[in-house]
């Protein structure tokens, strides 16, 4: 059974994270994705660490694609790209050196959904400014949720701006495909250009914060004081940190919890009333000042034991995994979040699975590893020859 996007053809002219992630997702969902790389290859091939000459980021975000190489200093290669785009349903482009001939306005492709991903968005004074994950995290004030006031900025270590933009790009592409007129399947019309950016996506993802800042009844809650709270490292137990909150633990259950954690001393503490009532854990009103009290109690137990005690009393507790503990967690195995993808040299590489389950049009486990530079050159160009049957569209 083919995936939900079976039959669509996607041409990707993009590097790094946002564009490749977008096209990978479309490929995982069943589209035929052709990735065009410059002669020196996608920049992320050379990112660290090196894994048999290509980085793990490249090897993950470029599965489910075929790859060719085109050189924008050659008019013939630009023409080849034009023809590939004319036969495609979707273009995913970013602004790393795209020749003007391949801009949306210059293509005569009435059915094409042309998705351009930029750093700062298509309008405004920064429309053409070069952008990066870090630059957009800073400009959208996303870095204000990390680190300490007055100290050097801290970025989120994951490529959140890029993946947020990719997730938005996937939505926009699918919506535009849905709005297209496919009544003549071999000649669709009603394509359009869609634009997304890292900056805009980071801002959209912080919408709760903007609403909170509009006109709050009272200045409190983590959507306001997250700016000024100190870094949150979780609740440290004897061995590992955990997340915990009282949830609805009150009254006798709270007394019993304190007893079982051996925190009798806390009853004499001036903050004991706050300890009883601030139920929201790390997000609570007094979380930062109460944490040392909880940690003094938790220091006598391993994380597993603390979580068991808290949950038995009606609270919430979750392990604070690093990627090693995450990848060994039975729940992760149960939901199949990590897959092994055979690489072209026969080795297996562990990667994150596509995040959707479709019962009617199941997404198969990805099987196509990243292309070697130009691996599918002759195959793709052969399909492009004037005599070849054009690829079927949306059927």
């Amino acid at each position: 059974m083919p995936g939900p996007l079976d039959g669509f053809r996607v041409v990707e002219i993009a590097e790094g994270v946002a564009g490749p992630y977008t096209a990978m997702s479309l490929g995982d969902a069943g589209s035929d994705v052709i990735k065009i790389e410059p002669p020196q290859g996608d920049r992320s091939r050379g990112w660290a660490p090196s894994l048999d000459s290509a980085s793990p980021v490249f090897r993950t975000l470029n599965r489910s694609k075929r790859g060719i190489v085109l050189d924008w200093s050659s008019e013939q290669d630009i023409e080849t790209a034009r023809r590939l785009l004319a036969q495609a349903d979707v273009a995913v482009v970013d602004k790393y050196g795209l020749p003007p001939e391949l801009g949306w306005e210059r293509l005569n492709a009435p059915g094409l959904v042309y998705c351009a991903i930029s750093g700062f968005g298509p309008q405004g004074p920064w429309a053409d400014r070069p952008a990066s994950e870090l630059g957009t995290q800073m400009a959208s004030e996303a870095t204000s949720s990390l680190g300490n006031l007055g100290e050097p900025p801290v970025r989120h270590g994951s490529d959140i701006g890029s993946v947020f933009a990719a997730n938005n790009a996937i939505q926009a592409i699918c919506a535009a495909l849905y709005a297209r007129d496919d009544s003549d399947p071999s000649n669709p019309t009603g394509g359009q250009r869609v634009e997304v950016s890292l900056f805009g996506s980071l801002i959209a993802m912080r919408s709760t914060l903007w609403v909170a800042l509009s006109n709050p009844d009272e200045w409190w809650g983590f959507h306001l004081d997250s700016y000024v709270k100190p870094p949150d490292h979780g609740y440290q137990c004897r061995d590992l940190p955990i997340y915990f909150s009282l949830a609805r633990i009150r009254g006798e259950a709270f007394d019993s919890l304190i007893d079982e954690l051996g925190m009798d001393w806390a009853r004499e503490h001036p903050d004991y009333e706050k300890l009883r009532t601030d139920g929201a854990g790390g997000a609570g009103r007094y979380a930062a000042e109460l944490k040392p009290l909880w940690e003094r109690g938790f220091a006598n137990f391993n994380a597993d034991r603390v979580m068991e005690i808290v949950e038995r009393h009606g609270g919430w507790a979750f392990p604070m995994h690093d990627y090693e503990r995450l990848s060994n967690d039975p729940q992760v195995a149960a939901v199949g979040a990590i897959i092994d993808l055979e690489q072209s040299d026969g080795s297996l590489m562990s990667q994150i699975a596509p995040p959707w389950d479709f019962e009617g049009t199941p997404v198969p486990t990805p099987t196509r590893p990243v292309p070697k530079l130009g691996e599918h050159q002759s195959e793709v160009l052969r399909e492009l020859s004037p005599n070849a049957t054009p690829p079927k569209i949306g059927t």
Binding site: A29, Q40, S44, P49, L51, P56, L61, G121, Q123, S132, E133, L134, Q137, M138, S140, E141, T143, S144, L146, G147, E151, P152, P153, V154, H156, G157, S158, N168, Q171, A179, R193, E195, V196, S197, F199, I203, R206, S207, S214, P216, D217, E218, H223, D232, H233, F318, P319, H321, Y323, E324, L326, P330, A334, V335, S350, I352, P355, W356, G360, G394
Partner: protein
């Protein structure tokens, strides 16, 4: 021009954040999203009661229920359940984010909804998945951040990893992934003519968000330690402090950019040993060399950046095509041309809470515009929607089948 999902109708049985954010996206894309609330809802529990409030309602509710119409339905009442089935016949999409089994108990499990409308794209969103030992555990952003290691790769250089103090990033990511899945389901229906059931969970969506970092761990077995503003995969790609104390974020992510960056540093005439020779110094030949000696390189560059103001560096680096940026606060951002001209931030009217600021649609469509409007009150459009159903009933050829419980 109407939005790309014009004509699509969504039955939105979602609460808290993940589900409501998915339908907020679909509404922005032009779908008619009908957000269901129980008539007995305590307004203090809307939006999970996430603080702060505006006029007593959680800002969570009014963020996550934009671009919708509100309908009161009590799915425990036989009459309202019948209304729900009638409404479902007019819908293309069903969305729910409750723990496994809850939908069936309310009479809106997939089999029950499919009996009313076999073409429906039925999308269930869970926290931890529909299988496995954690399937019945509650899931919200903060737990997902901790559990998936989202906290483990950020923090001050040399310090302990720290949690991202905006507890909505994995919630909203899961909502976006669910909206994608709905759209893919609609596209598949165009081809196959069939509806289907879809599932999306926070655990896998949250892990997909971290695909790059997790792949690096899985490939090498090395856990990243926090390194402040510095990237793991590229160098130099971090913040530097400029003259007068301002910070600038500079990212060199390709060898081309490195050559251009090296030229800017040389032309700055900053007095730092070695800064004129970045392009030719064998220590910095490739990105991987620079990542391996990141601290050594950053120390030299920091000395250079400190000799010119930030504005100097922004001008020179931008002109050279080297990505850069700097921190902007909300007060500046909400009037910043880049945010306003792209409609990324906007002020919207609401029925109950005055004008509120919010992020806007993150897309620009050249033909079928996206839209963005303020949150509905719970049940705000009940009369209007029931009137539409009555009008439809008056002209229908066949009565709505009565579904047993």
């Amino acid at each position: 021009m109407p939005g790309p999902l014009d004509g699509v109708r969504v039955f939105d049985l979602t609460l808290w954040m993940v589900g409501p954010w998915a339908s907020t996206q679909l509404g922005a894309l032009g779908a008619d999203v009908i957000h269901i609330e129980q008539p007995s809802i305590d307004p203090r529990t809307l939006g999970a009661g996430v603080p702060p409030t505006i006029n007593g309602t959680s800002i969570g509710y009014m963020t996550w229920n934009q671009n919708k119409r509100g309908l009161f339905l009590d799915l425990k009442s036989a009459a309202d359940r019948q209304t729900a089935y009638e409404l479902l016949q007019t819908c293309d999409v069903f969305l729910i984010n409750m723990r496994p089994g809850a939908a069936e108990r309310m009479g809106v499990g997939y089999e029950q909804v499919k009996a009313v409308n076999p073409d429906i794209i039925y999308t269930a969103i869970t926290g931890w998945g529909e299988v496995g030992p954690m399937r019945d555990k509650p899931g919200a952003d903060v737990q997902a951040q901790y559990f998936t290691g989202f906290w483990s790769v950020s923090g001050a250089e040399g310090g302990r990893p720290e949690v991202y103090r905006h507890m909505a990033q994995i919630d909203a990511t899961t909502g976006n992934v669910a909206a994608q899945a709905v759209l893919m389901g609609l596209l598949a229906r165009k081809r196959t003519g069939k509806g289907q059931r879809i599932h999306v969970g926070m655990l896998r969506a949250g892990m997909a968000l971290q695909s790059g970092r997790i792949a690096e761990y899985l490939s090498t077995g090395d856990l990243h330690q926090p390194q402040g503003s510095a990237a793991f995969a590229t160098a130099p790609d971090q913040a530097f402090q400029c003259q007068w104390g301002d910070w600038i974020g500079v990212s060199v992510t390709s060898e081309d950019e490195w050559q251009r960056f090296a030229a800017v540093m040389r032309e700055s005439e900053a007095e730092v040993e070695g800064i004129d020779d970045l392009a030719t110094d064998p220590r910095w030949s490739t990105n991987r060399d620079r990542v391996a000696r990141r601290t050594e390189l950053a120390t030299m560059l920091q000395a250079g950046f400190f000799q010119r103001p930030r504005h100097y560096w922004m001008l020179r680096l931008s002109a050279a095509g080297v990505p850069c940026g700097y921190p902007i606060s909300f007060e500046t951002l909400q009037h910043h041309a880049q945010a306003i001209e792209n409609h990324y931030l906007r002020e919207v009217e609401t029925s109950g809470w005055g004008n509120v600021w919010t992020g806007g649609a993150p897309w620009e469509f050249s033909r079928t515009s996206a839209r963005w409007f303020g949150a509905c009150l719970p049940g705000e459009h009940t009369g209007e929607i029931l009137d539409e159903l009555a009008a439809r009933r008056a002209t229908a050829d066949e009565p709505t089948p009565v579904i047993g419980d």
